[in-house]
């Protein structure tokens, strides 16, 4: 296994582990996100801004929490505390608008709901376990290129060149087809042949820049597949 392969494998394991953490905590995350947003609203309110609409939106979005048992006692206490602070800020204003009065009564309704009587035993989620799994160790297969391997590559390139040059008049057409094959089929042989042809053309003063770009792109795709 090359260094990149080992790193990519580790990257995959870690990413998959963190994805599972997120899935496992999905419900808690949604609660925390809601509490965090309410906390942001309370801070804005403390700075003297009108947060009536924002609190209204928050209630509209999270009212279902009253019926669904997703909150722990700690969450309920937190929410009540934050709502209490918002209510205090609303009451501080000399003229309370009808919308603000409505929000204030909504806060009271929330505080009086059964939600506040939730017990920790009822809502505490069961302990779940995340297991970090990885594939069994594999002994690296050594593929040290030998002279024989290289000679085979040259031979296969020759065969491919003959096949691709069938009915073609110019080497550029062959190169075009080899690059297409490398790009679309992620064919290593076609990639090597393309590189040979490009180098050959470059030695003969052809402008090879566009072909080099295509070769790099084909190589990138080939590496992704590998």
């Amino acid at each position: 296994m090359s260094q990149v392969q080992v790193l990519k494998s580790l990257e995959g394991v870690l990413e998959s582990f963190l994805e599972k953490v997120v899935i496992l905590k999905e419900e808690r995350l949604s609660v925390l996100e809601g509490i965090n947003r309410l906390d942001d609203i309370a801070r804005t309110s403390e700075e003297g801004f009108d947060v009536t609409d924002k609190v209204g939106d928050w209630f509209a979005e999270h009212n279902q929490w009253i019926n669904e048992q997703v909150l722990r006692q700690g969450d309920v206490d937190r929410i009540n505390g934050i709502l209490g602070e918002i209510k205090n800020q609303i009451n501080k204003t000399p003229e309370v608008s009808p919308a603000a009065r409505k929000i204030s009564s909504e806060i009271n309704r929330w505080s009086d709901s059964d939600l506040t009587k939730t017990t920790p035993e009822k809502t505490e989620p069961s302990k779940q376990k995340i297991v970090l799994k990885r594939r069994p160790e594999e002994s690296p297969t050594l593929t040290e290129p030998t002279l024989l391997d290289f000679s085979r590559v040259l031979m296969n390139c020759d065969i491919m060149l003959k096949r691709l040059s069938d009915k073609k008049l110019h080497i550029l057409s062959v190169l075009d087809e080899a690059l297409n094959k490398a790009n679309l089929q992620k064919d290593k042989q076609a990639l090597i042949l393309s590189a040979f042809i490009i180098y050959y053309l470059k030695q003969n003063a052809y402008k090879v820049e566009p072909y080099v770009k295509r070769l790099k792109e084909a190589e990138r795709l080939f590496k992704e597949v590998k």
């Binding site: 580790l10 990257e11 953490v21």
Partner: protein
């Protein structure tokens, strides 16, 4: 209200949800003063830090590979 560390822990988990690992590490660092003895927190924090380091290393190696091609065709 939530204290700074609680808020940061919450934002770190949300960043993980959005696969923004760099932001997650930053928020975990902010949350660390109050959670450094929490095993679960440390597991998530260290896993995310390791993942970020691995991603940077892979990126660096791939950049080196790209340079090799450019050297092979200096005027290409």
């Amino acid at each position: 209200m939530l204290n700074t560390s609680e808020k940061a822990y919450c934002l770190a988990l949300l960043a993980l949800k959005h696969k923004d690992y760099r932001a997650a590490v930053e928020q975990f660092d902010k949350a660390a003063p109050d959670f450094k003895n929490d095993r679960e927190f440390n597991l998530y924090r260290e896993s995310t830090r390791l993942l970020l380091a691995v991603k940077q290393e892979v990126e660096m190696i791939e950049d080196e590979d790209r340079l090799e091609i450019e050297e092979a065709f200096p005027n290409g």
